[in-house]
């Protein structure tokens, strides 16, 4: 069991076209940093100075991490993470 991470189109170039990758349990920010080792450049796109970027939304099992502990939210084996550009929708 691992953590499933769904990758949005703008980042799929970094994951060699993969829509979903496996991550390690821990906090969101540690997960992002560990993914960066396998897919260099990913962490820089999603986060800045240890915080999630303003225009990135991250969901754990469909729940917005801002309703939990932001980038410090803990994820465990079997959780599903979605990284979604924040700029979408309206009316």
């Amino acid at each position: 069991m691992t953590v499933k991470v769904r990758i949005p189109v703008p980042l799929q170039r970094l994951t060699k076209g993969k829509e979903e990758v496996d991550g390690e349990p821990g906090t969101i920010i540690s997960l992002v940093n560990s993914l960066d080792k396998k897919y260099p450049g990913l962490a820089e796109r999603i986060s800045e100075g240890g915080k999630l970027r303003r225009f990135v939304n991250v969901y754990v099992n469909e729940e917005d991490v801002r309703f939990m502990n932001n980038e410090e939210t803990e994820v465990k084996d079997g959780d599903e993470i979605s990284i979604v550009p924040a700029i979408a929708g309206g009316g």
């Binding site: 225009f55 939304n57 979605s82 979604v84 924040a86 700029i87 979408a88 929708g89 309206g90 009316g91």
Partner: protein
Amino acid sequence: MGFVKGLKCRECGREYAIDPIYVCEFCFGPLEVVYDYDGIKKVLTREMILSRPQTLWRYRELLPIDGEPTSGLHSGFTPLVRADKLAQHLGLKKLYIKDDTVTHPTLSFKDRVVAIALSKAREFGFNTVACASTGNLAHSVSAHGAAGGFKRFIFIPASLEHSKIIASLAYGPNLIAVDGNYDEVNRLCSEVANKYNWAFVNINIRPFYAEGSKTQGYEIVEQLGWRTPDAVVVPCASGSLMTKIWKSFKEMKQIGLINDMQTKIFSAQATGCSPIVKAIKEGVDVIKPVRPDTIAKSLAIGNPADGFYATQVIKESGGYGEDASDNEIIEAIKLLAKTEGIFAETAGGVTLASAIKLIEKGYIDKESVIVLCITGNGLKTKEAIVGHTVEPFHINPNLKSFEETLKKIDSV
């Protein structure tokens, strides 16, 4: 035609070619259309605009399509109503209602954005259009999409007003009612848009779609006699409309259609979903998402995409924000109907109720030229006022019965 230069990230400034894309690959910032304003300035004069049909396409050089428009050919150019009775009631001098309750064809300002989005979707060669909607957009994409011969996937929260669901179904789209709130629908749609090659008007077509909202601002300026108002009160869901009205005023000044621009922009939200107004009141630009709980379902976006930029518009223009409770919304809907004969949907109640507070608290000067943006028709959300209106008089079909009732009415 051809005044669009490309797309550019609002955050880091990276440039992109015109494509159905909406976020910067590097910083996830929103992409925005870049125009050749010097070129537009040479051709788009007041006379040119005035010579054209009264639709939103009279400002076409400032809209992001390359060829002839193919959708929403009759949309826009709604009345700017001088609201003297309402003004008198509120102690104001010059109050106007920008009345988008009568936008063609689906009676909300969403026909403006969809006109651009579907014209652009056709230029890109899409045959399927889609949207994530709080109701008005569903209605509009269903209608414009039907007229344009597009296959349509319309995603809505299942809990929308019955009137709005029926209004969309009439056009025969694929209506996907999601068991969740709008923010959940929106997240789902971002993932669907990732996977399917459709024109999602407010996702991958968003940079073009959102530009349609500028036409409301252009019209206000033209209808006021080529001047901007002193104050504009705009309802906020994602915050996009407000940022685009601000942009429209700046553009008109930049290309010389107006010389001066001194407008304060005000944000109106429902108390049960006010992440933007809360940030304005607290003086911060970090938008904390909320779980919406309001009768103003068309504004029930707890995680507003343009929330940050909306707070910047307020700061830049020197405006402010207010929010209205469900009861205040209902009372304001009735006040607008009784004074001006305009029946607005719940979002209109939010705008008027918030405006009243902004006036009472002194944020809006009573002597100034004020415009309220009323963005949708009351027939779309009539459920909201059921039980809050006067009751009909029931009589038998004879004169005696009528005159007995008339006596009762006269005695009140």
